[in-house]
């Protein structure tokens, strides 16, 4: 049954996404007006007549050659994180679950760092190794956290969930440091990659990230109804005819894939997978059929805006985007945490 407010919520999510895209293209070392951005976008798409005006030509270059690819890449990574966060929250039946807090992002980062230190030089092989290894490690860490936090098939208590995530995350972080120490040769490359961000990313990077991200979101959307059913608890879900084990396994895989896609594209970026679904829930309600696509949209919008902020706040210095999301996201996370009871069972 569609609720009357749902269509409006979806429209709002799309509007937020479009606004975030235009706003991100406006911001940067040289700021452009929204009108300039729209004209520049239109000119290469053939929607607006070509001009000889040097300022307009400059805007076209800035938008198409400098900003659009990285902004879209941030959007794609944010969408993958938003959907992965929604899936993890559904799986753990806990709105504080998020790829970053649960250490899944750290797993993906470990895989990516391992791939970088393999020293592969062919671009396609690099991308494949990066995405592949980060998926495998993200999958491993998601499974590990699930097994630790999920006590007796009950709803995962916030405390054990976050503790398990923190422990797994710090173990994986230490492993990353270990690799960096042992392989000094790749230190700089790995370090810059780990800082995260979309600076200097090109259309090629977007092309490499898009398939994995798209597959992860589509995969997540296929899990919508099972995740709705799982919201009743495992025993109830099973008595309603749901294969709970299969749902869990697929949800872990879908969230690991989305996280790996995002981390291989832009490094470890926290809180987007937490705040995206929260924002989406406000817009379209808790049903996963609507929540997952809406979370992808809000996650994309959040990360595009964060990326724009990262490159314009301290311009000409570009901040790592993970710093921006953490500065905004961590206080919000603490606020959400404090609203829940000590057992983490409140709404």
């Amino acid at each position: 049954m569609k609720k009357p407010g749902t269509a409006r919520g979806f429209l709002a999510a799309c509007l937020i996404l479009a606004l975030a895209l235009v706003a991100s293209l406006c911001l940067g070392a040289a700021s452009l007006s929204p009108l300039q951005v729209l004209r520049a976008l239109g000119s290469r798409l053939g929607l607006v007549a070509q001009t000889e005006d040097p300022q307009a030509l400059m805007a076209v270059t800035i938008v198409w050659d400098l900003r659009l690819a990285r902004t879209l890449l941030a959007g794609v990574a944010g969408a993958a994180l938003g959907a992965a966060g929604a899936v993890l929250q559904g799986l753990f039946r806990n709105p504080l679950a998020d790829p970053y807090a649960l250490g899944v992002s750290s797993g993906a980062a470990l895989g990516a760092v391992a791939a970088l230190s393999l020293g592969i030089t062919a671009p396609l092989a690099t991308v494949t190794a990066l995405q592949g290894l980060s998926f495998v490690c993200a999958l491993g860490s998601a499974l590990l956290v699930y097994m630790i936090a999920k006590v007796g098939g009950k709803r995962a208590p916030t405390a054990s969930l976050l503790l398990a995530g923190a422990a797994v995350g710090s173990f994986l972080g230490a492993t990353v440091s270990l690799i960096m120490t042992l392989r000094q040769r790749d230190l700089q490359r790995v370090f810059f990659w780990l800082l995260g961000g979309f600076g200097g990313k090109s259309w090629g990077d977007l092309g490499a990230a898009l398939p994995a991200a798209a597959i992860s979101i589509a995969f997540a959307m296929l899990l919508a109804r099972p995740l709705d059913i799982l919201g009743s608890g495992e025993e109830a879900a099973s008595s309603l005819g749901l294969d709970v084990g299969r749902t869990r396994a697929l949800a872990v895989a879908a969230s690991a894939l989305g996280t790996a896609a995002a981390v291989s594209a832009g490094g470890v970026i926290g809180f987007v997978g937490l705040l995206g679904p929260h924002l989406a829930r406000l817009l379209v309600g808790p049903g996963h059929r609507r929540l997952i696509p809406a979370s992808a949209a809000t996650g994309a919008a959040l990360l595009m805006v964060a990326d724009a902020a990262a490159r314009s706040i301290a311009s000409p210095i570009e901040l790592p985007v993970g710093v921006v999301t953490a500065l905004v996201g961590a206080p919000l996370f603490l606020w959400l945490l404090s609203r829940r009871g000590p057992e983490g069972e409140g709404a």
């Binding site: 059913i229 608890g233 025993e235 109830a236 049903g287």
Partner: protein, 285 residues
């Protein structure tokens, strides 16, 4: 997925008395822990069966096994489906969900889903992973909402309901499965007197429409009030089964629960009554 085609409403009076579920020499429990042994029982269409017994006597374990959630350790648990009486383990999970509905004692909704959407989860067995509820499923949900009188709450978030309202939502969701058999864990516990009668009244009317209803219950007076038959579990066995007056006796209660009670008849209602008789209470004469 073929549905059983057995609708709980409207009445299927022709089915009354047919065994919907049978246990034969059934042993149930968990890996390495035997809970119940050698259980023989039938649950029939149109009856209310109350399963009583002390804490840990295996009431929930029995229901889990009869519904196929838990594989039997020995013996047979069978369900009546469109292909006749079959062992539960031979019936696919989703098909089982169309034959038997369960209401758990404690369920915690994770999200502020609307009552209607929560009840819609009962149609999962017929729609599956990718399907959306169609006309048939929507009608099942409408009927379940009507039978449980939840229409006025249909748009409310389930997280904002009172205990009694949420219990009715759980029954409604089980009804939306269109099962021939309902197994309920302690449906009357944690409810105030009026809410208890509301839920038990609903179970009676479901039984009258031909559904087989089995519930576990702690309060023996409620068991006597609602049930056509009572099954008493104690010390790993089904020790008695029959009409309330035959099963709920002072001797049986003393032996199963280790509690001293007085079993009598309510003077005005011809209703079995169980009264506690602790040591500090000295009966007159």
């Amino acid at each position: 997925m073929k549905k059983s085609g057995l609708a709980p409403l409207p009445p299927r009076v022709s089915m009354l008395g047919t065994a919907l579920c049978s246990a034969r020499a059934l042993s149930c429990g968990y890996a390495g822990r035997l809970v119940l042994e050698g259980v023989d029982l039938d649950i029939k269409a149109g009856e209310v069966l109350a399963v009583i017994g002390p804490n840990g006597s295996g009431k929930t374990t029995l229901f889990r096994t009869l519904s196929g959630e838990l594989p039997p350790l020995a013996g047979e648990a069978m369900l009546l489906g469109p292909r006749g009486m079959l062992s539960v383990s031979a019936i696919a999970r989703r098909e089982r969900a169309g034959l038997v509905g369960r209401v758990l004692q404690s369920e915690q909704p994770s999200w502020p889903t609307s009552v209607r959407e929560y009840i819609e989860a009962g149609t999962f067995a017929s729609t599956g992973w990718f399907g959306t509820p169609g006309a048939l499923e929507r009608r099942a949900v409408d009927e379940a909402i009507a039978a449980t009188e939840l229409a006025s709450l249909a748009g409310r978030p389930v997280t904002e309901l009172s205990g009694g309202e949420f219990r009715r939502v759980l029954v409604a969701r089980a009804l939306a499965q269109k099962p021939a058999l309902l197994l309920l864990d302690e449906p009357a516990s944690d409810l105030d007197l009026a809410r208890q009668m509301e839920v038990l009244g609903l179970l009676r009317s479901l039984a009258a429409s031909g559904v087989g209803v089995a519930l576990s219950v702690h309060d023996l007076n409620l068991a006597a009030l609602v049930a056509d038959r009572v099954a008493l579990l104690s010390k790993g066995r089904l020790v008695a089964m029959g009409p309330p007056r035959e099963v709920i006796t002072a001797e049986a209660v003393a032996s199963a629960y280790g509690a001293t009670v007085l079993v009598g008849n309510h003077p005005a209602l011809d209703l079995l009554q169980v009264v506690h008789l602790p040591a500090w209470l000295k009966p007159k004469d």
